[in-house]
């Protein structure tokens, strides 16, 4: 099967600092893919390049057969790439429901009542339905993290990138978010998960890549990754 996302030799520098150096990877439709690596290894930079928040300097990013690396972020979102942010970035003065209507209307191009129905449906799935009318700045950390994912979902993505959606959550809350991601994947959504909570990465991912200093140092099944000496040295601290 053709890859849904193909990253080829992507490099990115910030001044003299090499954040990504010729990174290549392929993600199949429907895959659950884990991205790990030490702090500052380039994980967020890579997904910023994929989602369009940053432009890669060299290499190509092909989504569903189309080169997207010169498209603006919103154009990529319309083609089916959505992401959540590490530090939740809702529209603070809008309600939870309104936060979802923005992508529903402007990305998925749904009409008024359709957008509302879809938004409520997603909020229900995320366990946020009772909070639909609450202003975003009234939410707790867990609720904000769920809203981050819910809003990404409202764009009806084919590829969902979850950037540390579980950071700061306790065991039971991690399980809740994991269950949501599994459900989305069952519906055919391809998921890239960036996460430091290893139990979550291990349970969720079919395949894991470990970045270190802007390069892929290891790729494989979750079980093989944690056994890899380079990953242990750079990341896990065995």
């Amino acid at each position: 099967m053709a890859a849904l996302l193909e990253v080829k030799n992507v490099s990115k520098h910030f001044g003299g600092f090499t954040a990504l150096s010729a990174v290549s990877l392929e993600i199949a439709p429907g895959e659950r893919f884990g991205l790990i690596g030490p702090n500052g290894s380039g994980k967020t930079t890579l997904i910023n390049c994929v989602s369009g928040a940053l432009r890669n300097e060299s290499g190509s990013i092909v989504f569903d057969g189309e080169e997207v690396s010169r498209l603006a972020a919103y154009q990529r979102t319309r083609r089916g790439i959505a992401r959540s942010f590490q530090v939740p970035r809702p529209f603070h003065s809008m309600t939870v429901l309104e936060n979802l209507l923005v992508p529903s209307a402007y990305v998925a191009h749904l009409k008024d009542h359709e957008a509302r129905d879809q938004a409520m449906e997603i909020l229900k799935r995320m366990g946020l339905a009772q909070k639909a009318g609450a202003q975003a700045n009234q939410l707790s950390q867990v609720e904000l993290r769920k809203l981050e994912l819910a809003r990404a979902m409202a764009a009806r993505p084919r590829l969902l990138i979850s950037d540390e959606a579980m950071a700061g959550l306790s065991g039971g809350e991690v399980d809740e978010v994991l269950a949501i991601l599994f459900k989305l994947n069952d519906q055919g959504i391809t998921i890239i998960m960036i996460e430091h909570i290893m139990q979550a990465v291990m349970r969720f991912s079919q395949r894991v890549v470990c970045l270190d200093a802007g390069k892929i140092i290891c790729e494989g099944t979750p079980a093989s990754i944690v056994q890899n000496p380079d990953v242990q040295k750079a990341y896990l601290g065995a």
């Binding site: 702090n39 700061g168 065991g171 399980d175 430091h196």
Partner: protein, 243 residues
């Protein structure tokens, strides 16, 4: 010499939402106390009450330090910092457009800390070498985990006697989680630092904690030493996934 933080029966909240219902807690000199409980239960609010960032509507917060007892509910946040209390806030709260070094220097703003800037800076750079490598870089341009390290280091720059840490391990790679917790323990061992720490990573928290409190829906439902915590049903269900 003895330091004691004493929180008695506080109630606090935001507008119509009451986050804390009669919470009491005590921390003595040199203790490391873990504050456990899932999100939205009042851990951060409790810390903000100690820092004077949220005012309790009932109850008292007192800090005995250097032979004097202070009513923290009547002091401003900067006065509380001046007493030797520092907080690592949830969500980092750095100055993104300032360099790493400038963020650290601002941490040392209180008069007593200014005299120890070079020693404290050396400790921070030794604890987190990446901050030394990037001292001239803008804080906002670093990765999330590196920003978390900077937030912790900035609090240490104020040479605190009592350190409040709200979720120190969020966003850190596994190798750095244990490293960070170990560094907090080193501070405690070397400088007699007293620590109140909210941490979701139970196993890491109890590595250095002497005691802990479990807070649920704004009330303390359990307090005990590490052994008692490990056997507590709530801990087992919330943190260890065996409930």
């Amino acid at each position: 010499m003895a330091l004691e933080l004493s929180v008695k029966g506080i109630e606090a909240g935001y507008a119509a939402v009451r986050a804390l219902h009669g919470v009491s807690l005590d921390i003595g000199q040199g203790e490391t106390v873990a504050l456990l409980g899932t999100n939205g239960n009042g851990k951060s609010t409790l810390m903000k009450c100690v820092m004077g960032m949220v005012r309790p509507t009932k109850g008292s917060v007192t800090l005995a330090i250097d032979g004097k007892t202070h009513d923290l509910t009547r002091l401003s946040t900067e006065e509380i910092v001046n007493l030797g209390v520092a907080m690592v806030p949830e969500g980092r709260r750095l100055f993104p457009k300032l360099t790493v070094e400038e963020n650290l220097l601002l941490g040392a703003f209180r008069p007593l800390a200014r005299t120890e800037i070079s020693r404290n800076l050396a400790f921070c750079f030794e604890a987190f070498p990446v901050l030394a490598e990037r001292r001239r870089q803008l804080a906002g341009s670093m990765s999330g985990g590196q920003q978390q390290m900077l937030a912790i280091a900035r609090a240490l720059m104020s040479a605190p006697k009592l350190l409040l840490v709200d979720e120190p391990s969020v966003g850190l790679a596994p190798i750095l989680v244990s490293h960070t917790i170990t560094k907090i323990k080193e501070l405690k061992d070397q400088y007699g630092l007293t620590v109140l720490m909210a941490e979701q990573n139970f196993h890491q928290a109890i590595r250095i904690a002497d005691r802990g409190y479990i807070i649920v829906h704004g009330e303390i439902v359990f307090e005990g030493d590490v052994k008692a915590l490990e056997q507590n049903e709530l801990v087992r269900s919330y943190y260890l996934g065996t409930g």
